[in-house]
């Protein structure tokens, strides 16, 4: 096990890392609460903070109605908070509107897109406020974007006094540095932050090559390395449906070749990843401990990883957590 021979090394830094919360209010609150349980020096949310779904909540007389998990739910006006909690638990944004507004959104995709971005920005403000209110000032909170996060949210986090937002930057983590990258290899969904493997390789080199040789830099790259078991996802056909082979969904690696090459080249002690929710796990590539804590945000369950680093830059210990 890792740490057997390094037992006498002194811990220099403890990280608590999560990823892919996708707008789940419950998971974000648990993320902040984790500071008291795991006692980290720094909390890191490594991308894909934005929610994916928007639920119209319509007022009909003295009740609210919405569709939750495919079922029509109607509650009295006074029970809006409960309905809201049901929706936000799944990482969706409940938006109060009337039938006319709903019709306009249905008719205008641009309007819907703007509504989404507004909700994501609004949530970013709320989350920044929550960090200020609830997180012990001695604990740093770093949030970086992922490929599904719209760029409009960046400025909200970047402007926060309490949250650090080192997107596509190398930041200091006490005795270490951390390079963060939101970009992922091209996906079938044409998301906000994706590029070719060649471009990705160049972006990584642009960040890491200028670093002094004695710098211990850990990686916070949203995309996991290719074929590392941290990137196993169902194979999709042309219509984006899972391919079934041998009575099972066919699972294929979808990580980044460029990220794998960078890990092999630079050999950081730890590489933190997300992106593939179902590929929670740990894998060593050379000396690098690669971690994908996975994500179960839709159940309101926070998956994370506690990582201890020693003064000499080696990884002392880690633990995948479910809370």
């Amino acid at each position: 096990m890792i740490g057997f021979r390094q037992a006498k090394k002194k811990r220099a830094l403890r990280i608590y890392f999560v990823s892919d919360l996708h707008g789940s209010e419950v998971c974000f609150r648990k993320f902040l609460a984790a500071a008291k349980v795991y006692e980290p020096d720094v909390l890191i949310l490594g991308g894909d903070f934005a929610g994916k779904g928007l639920v119209p909540v319509l007022r009909h007389g003295d009740s609210w109605s919405a569709t939750v998990d495919g079922q029509q739910v109607t509650v009295p006006l006074g029970d809006y908070d409960r309905l809201q909690a049901d929706v936000t638990k799944r990482g969706f944004y409940p938006v109060q509107m009337d039938e006319d507004e709903l019709a306009r959104i249905n008719a205008d995709p641009g309007l819907l897109d703007e509504l989404f971005r507004e909700q994501i920005r609004e949530q970013a403000r709320r989350w920044c406020d929550l960090v200020s209110e609830r997180l012990d000032p001695s604990i740093r909170c770093i949030i970086t974007p992922g490929n599904d996060d719209p760029v409009e949210a960046d400025e909200i986090y970047a402007a926060s006094d309490r949250v650090e937002f080192p997107s596509f930057q190398v930041c200091s983590l006490g005795p270490f540095s951390m390079a963060s990258l939101a970009m992922v290899p091209t996906t079938p969904w044409n998301t906000e932050r994706e590029c070719s493997e060649e471009e990705l390789a160049k972006l990584i080199d642009d960040m890491l090559e200028p670093l002094p040789a004695d710098t211990t830099c850990i990686l916070n790259f949203h995309s996991p390395p290719y074929a590392s078991t941290l990137d196993d996802a169902p194979e999709l056909d042309a219509s984006l449906k899972p391919v079934i082979r041998g009575g099972r969904p066919s699972i294929v690696p979808v990580g980044s070749h460029a990220v794998r090459a960078a890990i092999k080249k630079y050999q950081p002690p730890v590489a933190l990843h997300g992106h593939i929710h179902e590929s929670r796990g740990v894998q060593k590539i050379g000396r690098t401990l690669c971690i994908n804590p996975g994500s179960d945000y839709s159940s309101g369950v926070l998956r994370g990883a506690v990582v201890d680093l020693a003064e000499d830059g080696t990884c002392l210990d880690f633990l995948l957590t479910t809370g």
């Binding site: 709903l102 078991t229 992106h275 894998q283 506690v306």
Partner: protein
């Protein structure tokens, strides 16, 4: 990337339902047909002949209709419990994850290790079944190709040593195939499953086209014994075989048939990919259960009509208690059951090849799928720090979990050695017991679901407080019913010491290893980590307050 939560169809906002923005992620798109395919592919259809034989051998007055239906009902009840578990914990993971999340991380970890060992044991017993059927396979192939050398080779591979060696070869073949590409393995599994289903369909056609007298004549011709059919019945009677049927026997056989259906609910293992998981899983499981009841009940009805229950009871028991007397009458393998009957009823070489190779090929297909699941369970243990991280290491060249496969191969070989020296009924009994215990684990998780993690299931209902309480009660009742039925299965196994309870030293050691591995490894891992001042394992599943 990742898994989003709703079907693309829900994205249309014209129902005022849900708008989905353009993000990466698999949209849950596995529908009912795909889920049925997954469930049926997880069931070793031809293994029913192994379980028919185990039931006939173990109990006097055995019949299969009631056990087949009762076992289906047990799985049907369990299906509802797993449905709630799936809704509460939609990610793949099975009982290990359910118990960890719902009951206790410690209990989950213990169950996880137990399941890893059980699955490895199942790999070895499947290899053992393949080895047991090798003589039948060789004699069938010999008959097809008119080769006495091949047919005779079948007679010389029946010793315990040979069975062990052949089991080992099956394990090595499966491990070697697993080191190749995932797509190739999937194609192999698919091909083998198709062959298995084809053999089953052809057998039903052959039986349907035959008659009792036709079977008697065919057996006489095959055995070079004009009165073979009656001779087996009369010799069986002389050796103490009791004919007829009894309710008590049929109830006692239920655990064998529970084992028969194993895999039928496995679409919940891919719960994260199912479209509307709860509903899809429910329909897929019910359809799969109905298909299997009709298929197996149908073939049993055909066997009863064409071969007759007295003959099957006499053959299975005589072959087990007095193989010498049986061997004097016929060379037809007494454990081959329906496949053996098909073999002598047809002279079509392709049909004969299908019957001869059905069980060994089916076991290879099942083991290929099981090896993947087993390595995944080992991975989960490694990620939870109960096993060294290097267990989860994948090869640089083949991207396969070489270390985990090697571990499964080594432990499986040890189990092969043990199972080769334990009689067949005990092996099936142990396997039945293990799967009953896994079912019990699922039942326990479902029973505690509503009281320990109500927030995970209450998403299903948005009604009044009273409605919510009623829903939670329903979840608990379904969980408790599953637990009771699993306990009944365990009780039937434990209480019939003459069959299930004749545990040898080896099988008891196996049982202790399976049940004790979890707690021992957990305590060792936690102790070592405490000594090193490392992160406490109990933090791994510490419940975080959302506020």
């Amino acid at each position: 990337m990742a898994t989003s939560d709703v079907s693309a169809r829900d994205a249309s906002g014209d129902r005022g339902g849900l708008f989905i923005r353009q993000t990466s992620g698999l949209v849950r798109e596995l529908g009912i047909p795909a889920a049925v395919g997954i469930s049926l592919a997880s069931v070793a259809v031809v293994n029913t002949f192994i379980n028919f034989n185990a039931g006939l051998t173990a109990f006097q007055k055995a019949d299969m209709y009631l056990p087949l239906i009762a076992a289906a009902i047990i799985w049907l009840v369990a299906m509802f419990a797993y449905r709630y578990l799936l809704r509460a914990v939609p990610r793949a993971g099975g009982e290990y994850v359910y118990l960890s999340r719902i009951v206790s991380p410690v209990v989950g970890s213990i169950a996880g290790l137990g399941i890893a060992v059980v699955f490895t044991y199942v790999l070895s017993t499947n290899a053992h079944f393949a080895a047991e059927f090798t003589p039948f396979m060789l004699s069938g192939i010999g008959a097809v190709f008119h080769s006495t050398a091949i047919a005779n080779a079948g007679n010389s591979v029946t010793s315990d040593g040979w069975v062990f060696g052949l089991s080992l070869i099956v394990m090595v073949i499966v491990a070697a195939l697993s080191l190749s590409s995932v797509k190739l393995v999937a194609r192999i599994i698919f091909g083998l499953i198709l062959l298995q289903l084809l053999a089953f369909v052809v057998l039903m056609i052959v039986l349907a086209a035959s008659s009792r007298s036709g079977f008697s004549s065919a057996l006489a011709s095959y055995s070079h014994h004009p009165g073979a059919f009656q001779a087996i019945i009369s010799t069986g009677k002389a050796n103490g075989v009791v004919f007829g049927t009894s309710i008590a026997s049929m109830i006692a056989i239920i655990p064998f048939m529970v084992l028969n259906y194993n895999g039928v609910l496995y679409s919940y293992y891919v719960g994260g990919e199912l479209r509307r998981p709860g509903r899809t899983y429910l329909y897929a499981s019910v359809i799969s259960l109905i298909v299997l009841v009709v298929l197996w009940g149908g073939v049993w009805a055909l066997l009863r009509a064409r071969v007759g229950l007295p003959f099957m009871q006499a053959q299975a028991n005589l072959g087990a208690v007095n193989p010498a007397a049986y061997g004097k009458i016929t060379s037809l393998d007494s454990v081959a059951g329906g496949l053996g009957y098909g073999m002598i009823l047809t002279s079509n070489p392709i049909a004969r090849l299908l019957f001869a190779t059905a069980v060994p090929l089916a076991e290879i297909a099942v083991n290929l799928a099981f090896l993947t699941v087993t390595t995944r369970v080992l991975f989960a243990q490694a990620f939870d720090r109960l096993l060294p991280v290097r267990v989860a290491k994948v090869g640089e060249r083949n991207h396969a979990p070489n270390v985990a496969i090697a571990i499964v191969l080594i432990v499986g070989a040890a189990f092969c050695y043990l199972t080769s020296f334990v009689n067949l009924s005990n092996i099936v009994a142990l396997q039945s017991l293990f799967f009953a215990l896994i079912l019990l684990a699922g039942g326990v998780a479902a029973t505690f679901l509503a009281s320990r993690r109500p927030e995970l299931v209450l998403g299903e209902t948005s009604g009044s407080e009273a409605e919510r309480k009623a829903f939670l009660r329903k979840v608990t009742i379904v969980g408790a019913a599953t637990t009771l039925l699993a306990l009944f299965t365990v009780f039937e196994i434990v209480s019939h010491t003459s069959v299930y309870g004749k545990f040898s030293v080896e099988s008891i050691i196996t049982l202790i290893v399976v049940l004790g591995a979890g707690p021992v490894i957990y305590l060792i891992a936690r102790g070592i980590r405490r000594q090193r001042n490392a992160l406490d394992l109990s933090l791994a599943m510490h419940e975080l307050p959302p506020e």
